[in-house]
Amino acid sequence: MTTTEVAERLRGDRRFQDVLGRLVEMSERDYYNPYRLFDWPDSLPDDAYWMTPELMAEHGTDVWDELPEPRRRALSKWQSINFYSLNVHGIRELLHEIVARIHTADFDVPSEYFHHIIGEENEHMWFFAAFCRRYGGKIYPPRSLRLAGPGIAGADHFLVFARLLVFEELVDVFNQRMAGDDRLHPTIRKVNEVHHQDESRHIAFGRQIVAMLHADLRERLGDGELAALEDYLKGYMRGSVASLCEPGAYRDAGIPEPYAVRRRVLASPAHAGYARRVLRRTESFMVNAGIFRTGLPESAKE
């Protein structure tokens, strides 16, 4: 896609500009000071759930059945630290990509809104990192390395925004549920609630831009290339769900053979159902926007 093609498409779409205007207005109206918003108690109770158990990747698998209740709770703590760590690393990638595009010729139209995304994501990264360090004493290290993707010329912008949307949609499924789960400590609920508020705007933006960038690709790419993009994104979605099974979290929860445990969880039929559930929203969007010709395969395994 040439520079002018992207810019023209974004400039020529009235609806997109209306959405951007509303999102900027909402961001200004709801602006808050994250550094003063949260109560950070010295510690959170170790014998409670830190994460909604039904949202844990192990839930319903043989691994889960074998764990005594206190071990499940310990695991929920470390899986929640892993979840927030994934957020920290996902936000690093997001910031990197948005900063690379703000006030460039292709993206003059959304640049005003990019300022809000960058500002808000910096704050999200701060509170997620604060949570991990304060209550877990660490942030789990990043696991992914950017190597070759589907290798389709001109699809870079689309792939970047599609990956970011998959990430934000998936995280939001967790945030929304955990914000309203009264088994969780108020600080945990608050972190999830605050993030969900901001992300509802980012996701509205992400859906618009991803749909537009793909509409453009449909005019220029052949069926084979579009299918390769679809396959790649489906793989990316499965990989994102698999990243919720972190061997380091099993180790910290005192569960032996953490790599074997991860393999068992990922291979379990219950986990296939879990992956479908947490990805359903993203999948529906992708199908409705014409980005996927078919839904995720029945067995959402790797």
Partner: protein, 91 residues
């Protein structure tokens, strides 16, 4: 001990460690069309390792070297060839 070829193990040469053997098998299974994979074959250029497959490979490497590997502490060049992987993670 010959340092010239850290992967192939002719008679009297350094044997391939068990862990590395697992890792090699995994890499070969990702792209069987490339056969046995020469120690200097470019795994990244030839997409034996790509973005989506990398994490599973990393976990396998951790499991068989017994060390947690932080992406902050390595570079993509450490994964470029089997020779590099052996030098970096199986010494």
């Amino acid at each position: 001990m010959p340092a010239s070829d850290p992967v192939a193990a002719p008679d009297g040469a350094e044997p391939v460690p068990d862990g590395l053997e697992f890792v090699l098998r995994h890499l070969r299974s990702r792209k069987p069309e490339y056969g046995d994979l020469d120690p200097d074959f470019d795994l990244i250029e030839n997409r034996v390792l790509d973005s989506l497959g990398f994490v599973e490979f990393l976990y396998l490497l951790e499991e068989h070297t017994g060390q947690e590997i932080s992406i902050d502490a390595v570079s993509r060049e450490d994964f470029r060839t089997i020779r590099r992987i052996r030098e970096r993670f199986f010494r």
